[in-house]
Symmetry: C2
Subunit: 191 residues, 2 copies
Amino acid sequence: MPRRTDTRDRMLSTAAELFHTQGYHATGLNQLLSAGAAPKGSLYFHFPGGKEQLAAEALAISGGRLRDALADVLDRANGLGAAVEMMIDFLATTLEDSDFQRGCPLSTVALDAAGSEPIRQACVEGFGSWQALLENALTAEGVAADRAESLAVTTLAAVEGALLLAKTRRDSAPLRAVAAHLRETVERELS
Amino acid sequence: MPRRTDTRDRMLSTAAELFHTQGYHATGLNQLLSAGAAPKGSLYFHFPGGKEQLAAEALAISGGRLRDALADVLDRANGLGAAVEMMIDFLATTLEDSDFQRGCPLSTVALDAAGSEPIRQACVEGFGSWQALLENALTAEGVAADRAESLAVTTLAAVEGALLLAKTRRDSAPLRAVAAHLRETVERELS
DNA sequence: CGCAAACTATGACGACTGGTCTAGTTAGTT
DNA sequence: AACTAACTAGACCAGTCGTCATAGTTTGCG
């Protein structure tokens, strides 16, 4: 079933961008549509579930994108510690280049739309996929399963928190500090 | 000029509660006022700066409250590692008891109202005050200043991230995992 | 080719809530 | 009783999300 227009995709990527930088409630449908995405009526054609469905799908895309980026870094880097550092470096650059607008693409919405089950679910899956990647990388290096899990959560948490602090302070120093610490921690774990 | 009502204070504490659980944009003035806080007109008498000022002041209060709690734990606990673990335990309990509504009182607003300078500033100060407490505790134990700073940021970041994950997953496991890891890290640093 | 059926697009509309502010009432002081 | 500071009610309109009737476009089939 070939698609005939790219409207749906345009909407999704505009939505991903706006929800990423502003959060769920701060992003109005009008803004989203007037951002060149589409006329109003089209939204409810492509997303019968309205704003909520649009957000959930946009988050799934954002989550997947970051997951791919992480998988890539994990492949390329030599050493897990280095990979984590590279990943954080990438996040810091993205944040700085966007004038401290683009932090974690999920966290803002995860917090401000925690009441919506579909949205929450999308975030759970996004976070989960990132964590799983870290966990696998750790077990591949010989770390025991339960230890790998708790180390992966901690790493993910530290990165998320650093993104929050960096965005709030408009200064990527927290990310750099956390990067160094995590590298240390990971490398000690593997030795 | 004697005050005749406690309206202003009631507004602040209701605001603190709602912004804490819902964030800035998701919290409407109507909801806030009908939550028994006050009649509508009073808002702009007590807070000429409107919603923005109300939020900034409410955040300052929330930040101060948590700061005090942290200072208290840091005093009472025997050992810094234990203190961190106790603090996280307190946060986990608060989160669970509120049906996973009350995470960090600043982070939601910090992310979803990052565009407002007064609000951002209030968050910067709140986070800063928590970090300073940790930093002092570390240097008091003989950790070098720069090392103490980066360890304090990392600790704060990990806790914030864990709160985010726990709230999103509706499961405090991330907090428990991070608590154990941080205790380990802190105690290694001091030995 | 020609036609019907399915698909996609459109923006005016409505019910409602958002934050703001002015005009007014109440209470304390002299 | 007059004055002033403390407070409040509700009007206001821009903006919210969602609905709908209508129109246009593409596809498959006879």
